[in-house]
Amino acid sequence: MAGQILLIEDEPNIAEAIRFLLGRDGWQVTVLTTGQGAIAEIARLGPQVVILDLMLPVRSGLQILTDIRADPATLDLPVLMLTAKGQERDREAAFAAGVSNFMTKPFDNNEMRAAVRALMGGT
C-alpha cells in the first residue's frame, strides 16, 4: 500500500502541483484546504507524513502542529512545514513546536520530493 500523505494547503494550485508530484512518486495524497478538522482527518487517515502550510484559514499551521505533538499517538508523526513566510523567526517557531522539516515557498520540486522521501524513511 502506498504511503499516505496529508497535505494541508489553502492555495489550490500549489496543492494540485504537490499532489501531482508526490502522486507520480507513488504516494497517496489527500488534500485539506483549511486548518479546520485537520486533527480529526489525521486520526481518520493515519498518514505517514503531514505537509502543513503555516498560514491557513481557521487554524494556523503552528496551532495544528502543537496539537499533533500534544497527542501521544502522533507525537512522532513526520511533519513538513511549508510556508511563504521564510523569516528566521517563523522557522525557529516551527522547530520549537516540533516540526520535522521546513521549506519555504517558492520551493524546488525535487527538493520537496526528496524531503518527503526522507520523512517516509528513505523509501
Binding site: 500549489i14 502541483a17 511563504a84 513566510k85 517558492p106
Partner: protein, 430 residues
Amino acid sequence: MVAALSGSKLRARRMALGLRQGDVAQAAGLSASYLNLIEHNRRRVPQAVLARLASALNDTPEAFADGGGGAALDDLRAVALAWPTAELARADEFAQRFPGWAEAVLAMHQRSLAQEAAIAAVNDRMSHDPHLSANLHEVLSAVASVRSTSVILAETDDLEPEWQARFMRNLDQDTARLAKGAEALVRYLDSGGQIDAQGSASPQEEVEVWASGLDWQIAKADIPSALSAPARDMARALQGDVRADHASLPDAAFRAALAVHGPDPLAIANALNAAPFAAFRRLAFAPDLGLGLVACDGSGTLVLRRAVAGFSLPRFGAACPLWPLFTALAHPMQAIETVVEVGAASPNAPRFALRGFGMVSHPAGFGGPGLRRAMMLIIPAGAGAAPALGVGATCRTCQRTPCPARREPSILAGATVANSGPNSGPNSGL
C-alpha cells in the same frame, strides 16, 4: 538658509494676528504640515519661503530672521552635546575659524536626523505593516505555484493531456494573480504611506491622511469617494464624534473654558458638562493650538493618531509602554500626567506634557463586556530643569538606553539594550 529660531517668530506673529495655520500656509503656497514643522523649528526656512511667509503675515522677512548666525551656533552646540568628545566650549571658535567645516558638520547632522527618521518609517512599515505582509505573501504564493507548475510542465515528458490542460489553466491563473500582486506591491511601496486608489494603506491611515490634509477640520468636510469603503465608514464615525464634540463644546464656550483652564481636557469637560474624550479631541483638533493626540482601545492598539512636531507616533505595532496613555488605560477615571522628553537623551531633547485619561464603557449593558479606551493629549513643553521621563515612539527605533521597559533592541546605530545582569536583554514581560 535662515536658522531654526525663525519658526517661533513666525508662529508668534501668526497667532498674534489670529490667523489659522492652514490659511497662512495657503497664502504662502505651502502645505499646512510643512508650515507646522517650520513653526515648531523642525525645518529650516529657505529665504524664498520666508519672504512668502512674511508677506502672508504682513511683515518683512527681516522681522523673522535670526540674528546673524546665532541659531547656527546653537545648532552646532546641539551637535556637540550629542558627542561627548566634542569641545563644546570651543563651538564659537570652530564656527568662526572654519565656517565651511561648521556648515558641513551641521549639514551632516541634519542628514543623519533625516535618515534616522526615514529608517524609522521604513522599519515600522517592514516590521508591522499587515498590508505589506499580505501583499508579499500573495506574490510569494503565486510565484511558488508558477515555479512548481512550470517545472512539472517542462520536465514531465509523458504528462497526460488532462493534467497538461489543468496545469496550463493554473499557470494562466497564477501569472495573472502574480501580475496583479506585483502591481499592488509596487503601488503600495510607491505610495510612501499615502492612500492610493485601491486603498493599499490601512483604513485608519487613510482616515488620518484625509483628516490631516484638512488640518483635522473635518466636521463639515465631504468624505472623498477615493477612500476605501472601510476608511469611509471610519471617517464617518470620526466625523460624527467631531460634530458631537462641537455640539457639546461650542466654539465660544470652549474658547472661554480654554482661556481659564488652559489645555486641560478634564477641567474643560467638567466646566462645560461634556464628555472627557470630547474635550481631548476638541483640544487636539483645534488648528491653532499645535497639540497632538493618540487614542487606544483595550488592547493598547492605537486607533487614532494626530501627530505633533517632535513627538513621533508609530504607524504600526506597539508604542512606547512608558506613555501615560497606557497607565490611563490600566487605571480608568484617573488623570495621569507625565512630563517627558523624547528622542536620544540630550539636554536639548524636546519636552512634552502628556495627559492621559481612560474610561470603561458598557455598550451592551450588564450583559456585555466592559470596553476600555484611553486618550493622551500631547502638549509641547518648553525646556525645564525638572527631571522628565525619557520616552520614545516604539522600541525598535528608540535610542534611549538604559530603559527598563525596552522590549527589543533598537535598530538605530548606537542604541543597545542596556539591561544587564542575569536578565540582560529586552524585558521579557514575564
